[in-house]
């Protein structure tokens, strides 16, 4: 079985899905000859041609809005936004249309599109190349939000996302793209949307994370009696797996790189406290990016939750 990094695993998912279903098409900036700025779509143009691997003009609302039109007409577009910081001009199309078409048309039309975009800090990129605003999309009914943290899951989740009848925002950590390799089977398999996984079993504390922070958490708690939940899908999130772990440990830490205020950690924390307060032995702690503008590279490492901050949080909840 090939050992692949996340770029290769996602590329494989795209290639296989395009092979399986000719309604699957790719649309975005520089996705063709250039193979995408991270090479995620590399080789797809020569396999499937310009009609299915569509280089667009530089216009994000157009990428998503056109994908919506294609999706409604029965295609399965996988749109790429070059960096998450450039998804904002497309938010109107995502919120006002992709998310609502099924509801608005009482099911006559649906919008089976995937919007893939690299997210997060860690590669010392310019401004707006390190956004992690997943929470915005989780607040909008009608959307699904997926954030894989390993190559195997990235492939499986992307296959599920492409086949899903509803619009999916699919976030790929730039930091993870080439950081981790693991065995990724060729051919069809899928990891279901809406299910979390336990990335490390443990009994003393539950740490919940997703995407790039998952690895930092694993690093911080390695050797400790800590259970690590990899959320994988944020919307809808897997309340069952989360609850099971919290019931077991009674102590919860949530880690994300987005600013704390109104980050997805707030939702997790609120839900857990609402449903499971009597199981909690300590206050839930959020270890997150700060409520300040994401800095340029020189201060990037100060901004993102560090291994130390995570460790300190573990110590803190264990103090109760």
């Amino acid at each position: 079985m090939p050992r692949l990094n996340m770029v290769q695993a996602i590329n494989m998912a795209l290639k296989e899905e395009m092979q399986r279903d000719e309604d699957v098409v790719i649309i975005g900036e520089d996705v063709g000859k250039d193979g995408g700025v991270f090479r995620v779509t590399e080789g797809l143009l020569s396999l499937y041609g310009h009609e299915r691997v569509i280089d667009t003009p530089l216009a994000e609302s157009a990428i998503v809005g056109t994908a919506i039109g294609m999706g409604v007409c029965g295609l399965r577009p996988v749109a790429e936004i070059q960096f998450m910081g450039f998804i904002y001009p497309a938010i109107d199309q995502i919120f006002s249309h992709a998310a609502r078409i099924r509801c608005r048309s009482r099911g006559r039309f649906s919008c089976p599109i995937v919007v893939r975009t690299p997210y997060g800090a860690g590669i010392k990129a310019p401004e707006l190349h390190s956004e992690s605003t997943e929470a915005l999309f989780c607040h909008m009914p009608g959307l699904k939000v997926v954030v894989p943290s390993t190559p195997y899951n990235a492939k499986g989740l992307l296959i599920s996302a492409i086949r899903d009848p509803d619009p999916v925002i699919f976030l790929e950590s730039t930091r993870l793209y080439r950081l981790v390799k693991e065995e990724v089977p060729e051919g069809e398999y899928s990891v279901p949307l809406g299910k979390a996984r336990v990335a490390q079993e443990g009994g003393g504390v539950t740490v919940i994370a997703w995407g790039s922070m998952l690895h930092r958490v694993l690093q911080a708690v390695s050797g400790l009696d800590v259970e690590v939940v990899d959320l994988m899908t944020l919307s809808p999130f897997d309340e069952v797996t989360v609850a099971a772990s919290v019931r077991k440990t009674g102590r919860v830490i949530i880690v994300h790189e987005a600013p704390k205020t109104c980050g997805f950690g707030a939702e997790l924390s609120a839900t857990i406290a609402e449903d499971l307060m009597l199981h909690l032995k300590a206050p839930i702690i959020r270890v997150t990016g700060y409520d300040s503008v994401m800095p340029l590279p020189k201060l990037e490492d100060t901004y993102i939750p560090t291994v130390e901050r995570i460790k300190k949080a573990v110590e803190e909840v264990l103090r109760y």
């Binding site: 098409v25 009609e51 299915r52 569509i54 667009t56 003009p57 216009a59 609302s61 157009a62 998503v64 809005g65 056109t66 994908a67 919506i68 039109g69 294609m70 999706g71 409604v72 007409c73 029965g74 295609l75 577009p77 001009p89 109107d92 199309q93 006002s96 249309h97 078409i101 099924r102 509801c103 608005r104 048309s105 009482r106 099911g107 006559r108 039309f109 649906s110 009914p141 009608g142 699904k144 009848p165 509803d166 809406g194 809808p236 309340e239 069952v240």
Partner: protein, 351 residues
């Protein structure tokens, strides 16, 4: 090496039927007498529907409503040129387009009364639901054009928007996509001279809206939007080109919004009655009637029958719309995703 001219453009305008009902035979599209009578019937039906909607709103039996009065030729003329299999992307003021294409009037009433079930397009039509955010639907038409082209279908996408809609970023991005990929899309702008209180001259400094197409490398044409033959012909020609792989066309229908913007608006705050009076002379129905009279196609009796039939159809539609059950609150939950999420299922127990 002086300054040299490297590109030139001409913006054309098409007029066929004048205010006195004279048609330019050399430009006249081929329409049999019966076709023309059918058009007249659709005109009357639309006026009847529109007037009834305004009445119902006044009586509190309908929510906010956006009248079509004055724009009927632009809507009926263009809609008749499409096939049922074409994809149509309306804004919120295209009742004339929908009715012409066979959309049930009772569902339109239902929609305007605030019930989503009214915009579940019947299966034999590809009309997209009413689009509220101005201009955004233009991109969906580009997407439909992409799908049509990809599948090599002999279809086209048609999209409607107003003069105000030309100012939104999505107008620009959609036009550019259509130009770059030579998409089978017909862009139809009803320039009704107003975007709520903003007059056309303050919407953009370009002399015509039609000329905006040249920025994207395709043709734009202005037509007299109160001249049903000109609108029909321009749309038909554009559709032929689209189906033949010759790419998109932009049609600016030069027309006028005779009513308030919607029933929530009071246009006397921002425009003169003179302007409205002037445009009454250009009424699209009046000139069709004059033309038909000249052709011997119009009689008082034909008119009476047409009107009675329209009244009956609209009455029936109102009755049907008002007899539907209250929507089931469950609908709120079950149409958000294909399958409701666990959280939605939990929330549903509140009901």
């Amino acid at each position: 090496m002086p300054e040299k001219i490297i590109e030139s453009f001409n913006v054309k305008r098409l007029d066929i039927l004048d205010e006195q009902g004279n048609a330019d035979a050399s430009l006249m599209p081929s329409l049999a007498g019966d076709d023309i009578k059918k058009i007249y019937e659709q005109f009357i039906l639309l006026r009847t529907f529109d007037a009834r909607a305004l009445n119902l709103q006044r009586e509190g039996r309908l929510g906010t409503y956006a009248s079509v009065l004055g724009q009927e030729a632009s809507q009926i003329g263009s809609a008749r040129a499409f096939e049922k299999s074409d994809w149509i992307f309306p804004s919120f003021r295209e009742m004339g387009v929908s009715i012409t294409m066979g959309y049930p009037m009772d569902m339109l009433f239902q929609y305007w009364s605030g019930d989503e079930r009214g915009i579940r397009t019947p299966d034999d039509l590809n009309i997209f639901p009413v689009c509220v955010p101005v201009g955004t639907q233009i991109l969906h038409a580009a997407g439909a054009g992409m799908a049509i082209k990809y599948r090599k279908e002999r279809k086209a996408a048609g999209v409607y928007f107003g003069d105000g809609g030309t100012s939104e970023g999505d107008f620009h991005e959609g036009f550019n996509m259509a130009g770059v990929f030579k998409l089978p899309v017909v862009f139809i702008c009803q320039n009704n001279q107003w975007a709520i209180s903003v007059p056309r001259e303050k919407q953009t400094a370009s002399k015509t809206l039609a000329q905006k197409a040249f920025a994207y490398g395709f043709e734009g044409i202005q037509v007299d939007g109160n001249d049903i033959f000109a609108v029909y012909r321009a749309t038909k020609d554009a559709l032929d080109r689209a189906r033949n792989g010759e790419g998109p066309t932009f049609i600016e229908c030069f027309t006028f919004r005779m009513s308030d913007h919607t029933t929530a608006d009071d246009s006397s705050r921002y425009r003169n009655t003179e302007e409205v009076e002037d445009w009454k002379q250009k009424d699209p129905l009046l000139r069709l009637k004059r033309f038909m009279e000249k052709q011997g196609l119009w009689t008082a009796e034909f008119h009476k029958q047409t009107e009675d039939r329209a009244m009956k159809l609209v009455d029936e539609a109102v009755k049907k719309a008002e007899s539907v059950t209250h929507p089931d609150p469950k609908d709120m939950f079950i149409y958000t995703y294909e399958k409701p999420t666990p959280r939605l299922i939990k929330e549903m127990t509140d009901l």
